[in-house]
């Protein structure tokens, strides 16, 4: 979202720059009316991320030069920061190095705020105009002081000034209800619907870089969406991916191997690259800068495969005994204790036929790891390690380092020094890759796969 700051004379230019939101802008505009007319006390705007809520509201207010205050509730941890910021903006006061970045007023609670708001409006001489207060990410207000949200919803009646409060959020209004039964003053609710596929194309096609035609860029974005649209409809994400991968897409054109018309060839060139992007850049496991570098290397050295910095999740180097300790911890977490004898003792003996009268259990893999005491871990460890290992401090300190690496988690109170309990927090794929490095078949020892 660009911050569109402009002068009132550019209104036509600006309002036409926002695409596909005409209906919502018209509704907002008709609600606002003339500055001297009162508006409904509060308006609640909700919709998915990147649907243009903040953009439309801030553009409309700036374009019409209406007195307003814009605060993002994520930035305010305490109510004082929120209220001070609103008062500063209504008074047109900006914290500067000259005034030591201080606020104009000190406002601890809502009572002072209402009084100072009235005073500030009178000082600025805008009593006959509607003052707009916009609170972005309004769901955070629910976690602040309990009286803040009801007071904002009714601010015009409480303060006696011509004030309208806009609340913008991704969460629906029903989740804001509080108190016993009937809610306080209901705001006017506006929904910003998600963009349809064609609207998304229209908006992204406007970023077409120079030197290429708009239809070419549109067809590229269409191809991109065929891979990503099923997973994600967020405008910001798709726009970012489109910009990031465009150099790779036009690589055959810049090298002279193809022209704009050979869409089939270009598609075959980009498809594996986009699939890889789905697993790395989309998940933010690789930064965009690394991705761009990887692309440039690939482009400059065709023939050599360049190394993509893959996620750090799968690569971890542990000492030899640590690997066995981790495997033992995994087995202890996911196997029920009563089956240990069957798996780990040298002469397992017969398996008793117990009456199976319990209902079908969910696989332990799905329920999550369970806690086990240290002794059980050491017992399993000794049985799976081939060589004789003495229980030195070296081995135990490796367990502590596994906890620091967050591969194991300590469960229960830290004061329990004689029987500490742990839990293994790695996934099955991870443990299999570790086990492969020491040639240990972990599946054979897991209850869920053997029974």
């Amino acid at each position: 979202m660009e911050d569109v700051s402009l002068v009132a004379s550019d209104t036509e230019d600006v309002t036409s720059r926002i695409l596909c939101r005409e209906k919502q802008m018209a509704m907002l505009y008709s609600l606002m009316g003339e500055p001297s007319q009162p508006t409904c006390p509060s308006v609640f705007i909700y919709g998915h991320g990147a649907t243009g809520k903040t953009l439309v509201v801030s553009t409309l207010l700036k374009a019409a030069s209406l007195p307003h205050a814009f605060v993002n509730c994520i930035e305010c941890q305490t109510s004082r920061q929120l209220l001070d910021s609103i008062l500063d903006q209504v008074a047109n006061h900006k914290p500067h190095p000259e005034n030591n970045y201080s606020s104009l007023n000190r406002c601890e609670n809502m009572n002072t705020f209402v009084r100072l708001l009235k005073k500030t409006i009178e000082e600025r001489g805008i009593e006959n105009q509607t003052v707009y207060i916009v609170l972005d990410k309004a769901e955070r207000l629910r976690n602040m002081d309990g009286n803040l949200l009801p007071a904002f919803l009714n601010l015009s009646q409480l303060s006696g000034c011509n004030v309208c409060v806009f609340l913008l959020s991704q969460i629906v209004w029903e989740k804001f209800l509080f108190g016993f039964g009937s809610n306080h003053f209901e705001p006017f609710i506006i929904h910003f619907p998600d963009y349809t596929k064609s609207e998304l194309l229209e908006i992204i096609a406007s970023d077409c870089p120079k030197g290429y035609s708009a239809e070419f860029y549109s067809s590229y974005v269409n191809l991109l969406m065929s891979i990503f649209y099923m997973v994600c409809r967020d405008l910001n994400e798709i726009r970012h991916l489109a910009q990031l991968n465009f150099p790779k897409y036009v690589e055959p054109i810049t090298k002279g191997e193809a022209s704009e018309k050979d869409s089939h060839k270009l598609w075959r060139h980009i498809e594996p690259h986009l699939k890889k992007a789905l697993q790395t850049v989309y998940l933010r496991e690789v930064t965009s800068e690394q991705w761009e570098k990887y692309q440039r290397d690939e482009i400059s050295q065709t023939g050599q495969s360049s190394i993509l910095p893959s996620s750090s999740r799968t690569q971890i180097e542990l000492p030899f005994y640590s690997k066995y300790l981790l495997i033992a911890a995994y087995l202890a977490s996911y196997n029920p204790a009563r089956y240990d004898r069957r798996f780990f003792s040298k002469n397992s003996g017969k398996v008793k036929k117990s009456a199976v009268n319990r209902k079908k259990e969910t696989s332990h893999q799905l329920l999550g790891p369970r806690a086990f005491p240290l002794d059980r871990l050491m017992a399993i460890f000794y049985s799976i390690v081939d060589s004789r290992v003495a229980p030195t401090a070296n081995i135990f300190s490796q367990i502590s380092s596994l906890v620091t690496l967050q591969l194991l988690a300590q469960v229960g109170h830290e004061d329990q020094l004689d029987t500490p309990k742990y839990k293994c927090t790695v996934s099955l794929e991870f443990i299999r890759s570790i086990a492969r490095t020491v040639s240990f078949d972990v599946i054979r020892y897991l209850y869920d796969f053997v029974k």
């Binding site: 003339e34 919709g47 009937s182 997973v231 996934s427």
Partner: protein, 451 residues
């Protein structure tokens, strides 16, 4: 602002259509006045005149006026609580009574009015500061430090007595009275009612609250000092009276200026209210919520749409407004999620049915998703686990899925117990309206796979 209006109409001719008006467009100022008047009525700023309130609330109004008169003229201390559901006109009643009091010189010269609100004064300390400020005794109090609340209040009332020759009565109006009952020890309430009972200074205390059982919230010592005088404001409008109110809200008074326009407008409103479609819309709204508050929200949008090109309210405006008020917000949000997220929601619904309401975790959800994808591998595209996890986390941030144990849990995020906040009926609605919904998903939603 007219240049903005022009700019808007030039850019968005489709949204602001020139409807087929049978009359010629008017000068801007008449419409401005019309809008101002109507908005003031609908945004709850204007207090209706006495005779309109007396139609339904004659006794209550008379009771309050008597109470206050007796306090001001004869020095009788009194207390009363005005109760009624949300939107039934309590604040309107109190404002109207105050207006009458202030216009009567015999009463108003002896009476000081203090208005407190439970939403703003959340603490007794803030309350006493506000009382001091409203009594304009800031300089008298100065920097004195008082031991207790009672001392402070007694000092203030003494100062009042000293200040003027005649005895001054004080009227306290406490809005959101039930919030005052949540203060520590209910000191403010106790002291006010105590002064009421003991004949120090004649004060009248009027509480306004939404809770009918507010007296149960009071402590025993406070309850015993309260006079148990209740003034009930109930909304007892029958449907014909409701329609009358609607007509009256929209009827213009003669002060608008243009007499011909006013006459035509009022005739149109008569015709509108006898229209069958409008009758249905009003009946539906009335059956949902009898309060005038809801009627005002219904009329807001049609009033805001009155412009120079469209100087009338039509039945279709009211229908649209009613549809807007009744929109299902969760379905609207679900409309914008991606196909992968929709598949996850269907999987969650099946899991909830299978486990009869017990919470599930992400691993179980992923397992269910994999079962579906493997069965339909030829048609449905499958995604890797991290991509599915990202989609799932987005659903959690939209509060469509919620963790059962709150924020403080320390289990890994894949294993945290979650529950789905969407009902089967909502899901079916979404599947019917979802753009481009794959038919396999629809089929899966109604026929869960055998496990």
């Amino acid at each position: 602002m007219s240049h903005l209006q022009e700019a808007f109409r030039k850019t968005f001719p489709a949204i602001m259509p020139k409807r087929n008006c049978r009359r010629e467009p008017l000068g801007g100022s008449t419409i401005d006045r019309v809008q101002s008047i109507l908005r003031r009525r609908v945004c709850r700023i204007e207090v209706p005149p006495k005779d309109i309130i007396e139609e339904n609330l004659k006794e209550q109004r008379q009771h309050l006026v008597d109470l206050i008169n007796r306090c001001a003229v004869r020095g009788e201390s009194n207390s009363a609580i005005v109760t009624g559901p949300h939107g039934s006109g309590k604040t309107m009643l109190v404002s109207s009574v105050l207006r009458e009091i202030e216009s009567n010189p015999k009463v108003s010269k002896n009476l000081l009015i203090i208005r407190l609100n439970g939403l703003l004064q959340t603490d007794d300390k803030i309350a006493i500061q506000e009382i001091t400020r409203q009594l304009q005794l800031d300089n008298v109090v100065g920097d004195k430090v008082f031991g207790s609340f009672a001392e402070n209040l007694a000092f203030l009332l003494e100062a009042l007595k000293r200040g003027s020759d005649t005895a001054q009565s004080v009227l306290f109006i406490l809005e959101e009275f039930d919030l005052f009952a949540h203060h520590k020890n209910q000191t403010l309430l106790y002291n006010l009612f105590d002064i009421c009972q003991s004949a120090q200074t004649p004060i009248a205390v009027i509480g306004v609250t939404r809770r009918l059982d507010v007296v149960e919230l009071l402590e025993k010592r406070v309850k015993s000092r309260f006079s148990h005088r209740h003034i009930h404001v109930f909304n007892s409008l029958a449907f014909p009276a409701y329609k009358e109110v609607c007509k009256r809200v929209l009827t213009l008074p003669a002060e608008v200026g243009d007499a011909k326009f006013v006459k035509r407008w009022n005739q149109d409103i008569e015709a509108l209210c006898s229209n069958a479609t409008v009758h249905d819309v009003l009946k539906k709204t009335y059956q949902l919520d009898k309060s005038i508050c809801r009627l005002q929200s219904l009329l807001l949008l049609p009033i805001c749409k009155v412009t120079e090109d469209h100087p009338a309210i039509e039945a279709v405006d009211l229908v649209e407004s009613s549809k807007h008020l009744g929109a299902d917000s969760k379905a609207a949000m679900l409309h914008g999620i991606s196909v992968l997220q929709l598949a996850l929601v269907i999987a969650m619904k099946h899991l909830t049915d299978l486990y009869e309401g017990d919470p599930f975790n992400f691993e179980m959800l992923y397992n269910e998703y994999l079962k579906f994808v493997q069965r339909k591998a030829h048609v449905v595209q499958s995604f890797e686990k991290p991509v599915v996890l990202k989609a799932f986390e987005h659903l959690v941030s939209l509060e469509i899925v919620k963790p059962v144990d709150g924020h403080g849990s320390r289990t890994q995020k894949e294993y945290r117990a979650m529950s789905l906040l969407v009902t089967s009926a909502q899901l079916m609605d979404v599947l019917n309206t979802y753009p481009g919904c794959p038919s396999e998903l629809k089929h899966w939603a109604s026929n869960p796979l055998p496990s």
